[in-house]
Subunit: 270 residues, 2 copies
């Protein structure tokens, strides 16, 4: 592999995944990944632009930022690209009235949206709310539509909490796709539109940006397909087999965000 | 289409799907489909062999047969091919110890199986037991296995109850397949091994047998791929678009089981 100097040349903006990079979630709010609080602070003191690009769809941005700030992170709502507000914009633009299969936490992001007489279904990482009854209701709404529209906030397979691996929204998206014979529209990583939204919000071109994430497909592969570079951290849901992934090769593998920031500060700003 | 005489020539055995053909399930036990009780009785008085071939995996055969007998059907446990007992045989043969994600109703079919220290996961139509917690547990068991084995009792997309369409086990199978990056083994229709088991139990060759079902893919397509003929009934989960299915064409479409039996008794036994 080329030297870091070459791999990180010209990077002006950094997109940071949150879960598995900044912290591991959990019932008690989870815990920061060692070194990440300081790494974010150092990055923000540098000349690099920073944006947080998450697929978190259980919590509103307000809740997520509050939780991270209590853990010591320097982060504000305006710095976060999250799928629920992005979906909310799409719903407005297309005059879609969603049946929402989402946690109560994230429902406030759809506060301005008409949900009467639904003509589409939006699913998020609903956690315990993915009951049979709720899934069946979403299924029935879709089956009654002439042209069923299913919008999924991300399509992650699973994520890691302090208690272990947890099924993510992608699994439930696949269940509804199969049952209804349809294909969902994904709002969130690895959708190109979503990465482009984050780049636009950061004000950096794809070739000047690098994504740092723990998901070899959703973060690394998705960002690379948009013309960005991407590093995978060996934290969160990282598994050793990711480094031999048959389709996706990161521009670098690092132990954690702290190491990524060390490398960026050393090589990217030259 | 050829005349019925030709289409039904040489039929000696009839495989009947249960849900959507004999009765529509429901919380109160459901209700027989008009004419089906008499149709089964007439078929059993004829020279044709009859076997019931179901993907029912919420109830044990004992429960299912009890429910059908109370609705007036002439049916006994020994005449029913069901996925749970078929899976139980496979588990024994391969020394597999399952983690069971199944309803309590069907658990008795696995009474002789060692379930300690599981080395595979078996999922059935678990209905309300498809909670996030139960799905996540099955996911975690699979992710901890070096070679994850997932056995699914059928792969139906949905079925019809008196209250409406209901998500079937196939949707949840897809969710686990996607989350774990694996492919499930299906025990039940449309698996060829399963149809062959039913034919063997009936003592009839594939070319002498006809399947009658409400599922264009699982019943009709599956049976045809095994060299059998198949009729689709316009009851249960039948939808008018099934008659223009892009991949599967039934050997005939009939309004209900009563019409199918009329035709069989008129043409098949000649």
């Amino acid at each position: 592999m080329a030297a870091w100097d070459k791999r990180l040349a010209g990077v002006r903006g950094v997109l940071l995944d949150i879960s598995g990079v900044l912290y591991d979630g959990g019932e008690d709010g989870g815990a920061p990944i060692p070194g990440s609080v300081e790494a974010v602070a150092r990055l923000k003191r540098s000349r690099l632009k920073v944006r947080f690009c998450t697929n978190e769809s259980q919590k509103s941005r307000r809740e997520l930022v509050g939780l991270l700030r209590r853990q010591g992170f320097d982060i504000s709502e305006g710095e976060v690209t999250a799928p629920a507000p992005a979906a909310s914009l799409i719903l407005k633009e297309r005059s879609l009235r969603p049946h929402l299969l989402v946690c109560d936490g994230v429902r406030s992001e759809f506060g301005q949206i008409d949900t009467t007489n639904p003509n589409c279904v939006v699913i998020a990482d609903a956690g315990e709310d993915f009951s049979y009854q709720n899934m069946n209701k979403a299924f029935q709404v879709l089956m009654e539509l002439e042209k069923p529209v299913l919008i999924s906030l991300g399509k992650g397979r699973y994520y890691k909490e302090t208690s272990g691996l947890m099924l993510d929204v992608g699994a439930y998206m696949k269940a509804l796709e199969y049952a209804c014979g349809i294909e969902a529209e994904v709002v969130g990583k690895p959708s190109p539109e979503y990465f482009q939204l984050a780049l636009k919000e950061m004000g950096v071109e794809a070739h000047e940006a690098i994504m740092i994430g723990d998901d070899i497909v959703g973060d690394v592969g998705g960002a690379q397909r948009c013309g960005m570079r991407a590093l995978q951290v060996r934290t969160g849901k990282f598994r050793p087999s990711d480094e031999q992934h048959p389709q996706v090769k990161a521009d670098g593998y690092v132990d954690n965000l702290a190491e990524a920031v060390d490398l960026l500060l050393q090589h990217a700003t030259k």
